[in-house]
């Protein structure tokens, strides 16, 4: 296989994009590619027809005019805005402390799940991995349901749900960062006769710290969005108000809440950009 063909097969070569523009590519590869595209397109078409035609009650949905009319119900009612400010502030606090608690839990989990520093071999490695997978694959609403049933309604279960949900991402990225550290400093510190904890503190931590802080800030950004829906299941914050307004068909007020959430998310993004440029 020539170099060009190899690059083509890996799909990285720019000429591969145009398909038949490359004279070096054998004909049957082109045919195969067209067959693949046609097969994919027909699957997409069948599924699209299933969802958008057969699974949708078009008599209830109405035409485009009806949809626009319904969407216009959501135009925000600005007079309602002041009364959701406190709930927005609460949501913000839930996101902030949820992220911080998650950060604290994520550090030991990351140490467990990093192959090169895990303390007790395969057992602790898999313990860390399973924690990460569980935290990443269960939605925050389900965590919130569990914590609400254990702690009662309010912002505390919401914070803990966010914390548990954040552990997966933070520990996963940090464990990857720990696995990719340079071994030089570790050997240097070990050569001084340092214990395991000292190696972690003085050789591993300085190398992964910037990555970790960057990911915590990124997670905070995501958690603001997540905190906005926890109220639906009793986890505190703006979600309860939104669900109430939707259920009482006060769509203009629901639109106001959406506007508030957008404002809060943008504010949070601005804050995290500032913190990032200040810290890193």
């Amino acid at each position: 296989m020539s170099g060009i063909e190899a690059a083509d097969a890996s799909g990285i070569n720019g000429a591969g994009l145009i398909g038949d523009a490359n004279p070096l590519r054998p004909r049957n590869t082109i045919l195969k590619r067209y067959c693949l595209i046609a097969g994919f397109a027909s699957v997409v078409l069948v599924l699209t027809a299933h969802v958008f035609v057969f699974q949708t009650d078009w008599a209830r949905t109405g035409g485009l005019g009806q949809m626009l009319k319904t969407a216009a119900w959501f135009l925000p009612n600005l007079g309602y805005f002041p009364s959701i400010l406190l709930a927005l502030f609460e949501t913000f606090l839930i996101a902030l402390f949820g992220t911080l608690i998650g950060m604290v839990i994520a550090i030991p989990v990351a140490v467990l799940a990093a192959r090169n520093v895990t303390p007790a071999g395969l057992a602790s490695y898999w313990a860390g991995r399973v924690t990460i997978v569980l935290s990443r694959s269960v939605h925050e609403l389900i965590f919130a349901l569990i914590f609400v049933s254990a702690l009662g309604l309010g912002p505390l279960p919401g914070m803990l749900a966010l914390a548990v949900r954040s552990v997966g991402f933070l520990a996963k990225t940090t464990a990857e960062a720990i696995e990719n550290i340079e071994i030089g400093p570790v050997e240097a510190i070990e050569a001084t006769g340092a214990k395991r904890m000292a190696v972690l503190l003085f050789a591993v931590l300085p190398q992964v710290f910037p990555i970790f802080v960057g990911n915590v800030i990124f997670q905070f950004d995501i958690n603001i969005r997540r905190a906005a829906i926890l109220g639906m299941v009793g986890g505190g914050g703006i979600g309860l108000i939104f669900a109430e307004q939707i259920m009482s068909l006060a769509y203009d007020r629901a639109g106001t809440v959406v506007l508030g959430v957008v404002a809060m998310v943008l504010l949070g993004e601005y804050i995290s950009i500032r913190i990032r440029s200040w810290l890193l």
């Binding site: 890996s10 799909g11 990285i12 070569n13 720019g14 000429a15 994009l17 997409v44 599924l47 699209t48 299933h50 969802v51 958008f52 699974q55 949708t56 009650d57 209830r60 949905t61 949809m67 319904t70 969407a71 119900w73 959501f74 609460e90 606090l93 402390f97 997978v133 569980l134 990443r136 694959s137 269960v138 939605h139 609403l141 389900i142 349901l145 569990i146 914590f147 049933s149 254990a150 702690l151 009662g152 309010g154 912002p155 505390l156 969005r225 997540r226 906005a228 829906i229 639906m232 505190g236 939104f242 669900a243 939707i246 769509y251 629901a254 959406v258 959430v261 957008v262 998310v265 943008l266």
Partner: protein
Amino acid sequence: MAVGEYGITVDDARRDYRRFVNLRRLIKFIALLLFCIFAVWTVWYMNMPLERLSGMFGRIGTMVFNRMMPPDLDYALTGNVFYSILETIEMSFLGTVYGVLLAVPVAWFGAWNVTPSRTICYPLGRAILVLSRAIPPIIWAMILVVILGFGPMAGTITLVLLTLSFAGKLMSEQVEAIDMGPVEAIRATGAGEIKTFVYAVLPQVKAAWIGIIIYNWDSTFRASTILGFVGAGGLGLYIRSTTQLLDYERTMGIILVVIVLVIASEILSHFARQRIR
């Protein structure tokens, strides 16, 4: 007494150094103290019942290991629930496909360096990226359920928006990081905006985009499992109905299926990522 190069004694230097170190320590200490006060104030302000935390693990243990066990897998793998699982996969597949199809032009418009027009297309692309990102998927789903009615169509469109916001942003960041040399070379031949994009931009970002799309599939699939909670199709509906009936064994069965599917999709995308490398 030792005198340095600029007539500063070592003692002076040491005093100077100590002064700055002490100031920094003081600032750090004050910041930490303020943060602790803020945390305590938050607990007080939000009426958080911290005393309940001690019994929390016991109660969660009872819930997870008594009431949720054994998970009712029969319920999760037969009849309507099984069909809703297939519907979830279908929704996330369609959401990813259409989301990516829409994200390509939006990423192109929203990248400052190659956008077709900096006065019209750039603000448009940015506005789409920011707005779809600023509203959480569940809230999108609730709004779309009101507008489009119950069913997988609302969920699919929510996932399209999620893909737009997530993959679109990462994809446009990739476009902004490209080497401008090929772009200028293609433009110099007199190529229009579309041809410049196809022949100068796409070849540079293609590999990174495929990685982003695979990563995006993972997050889309995870999000799709909950959309049924608000009636937007998929198995979330059964998570909601079984928890409201306090039928936690069935809930656990569904959650287990979700976990298995998420792990399967992660393994799949891991192999896909290795293949494109």
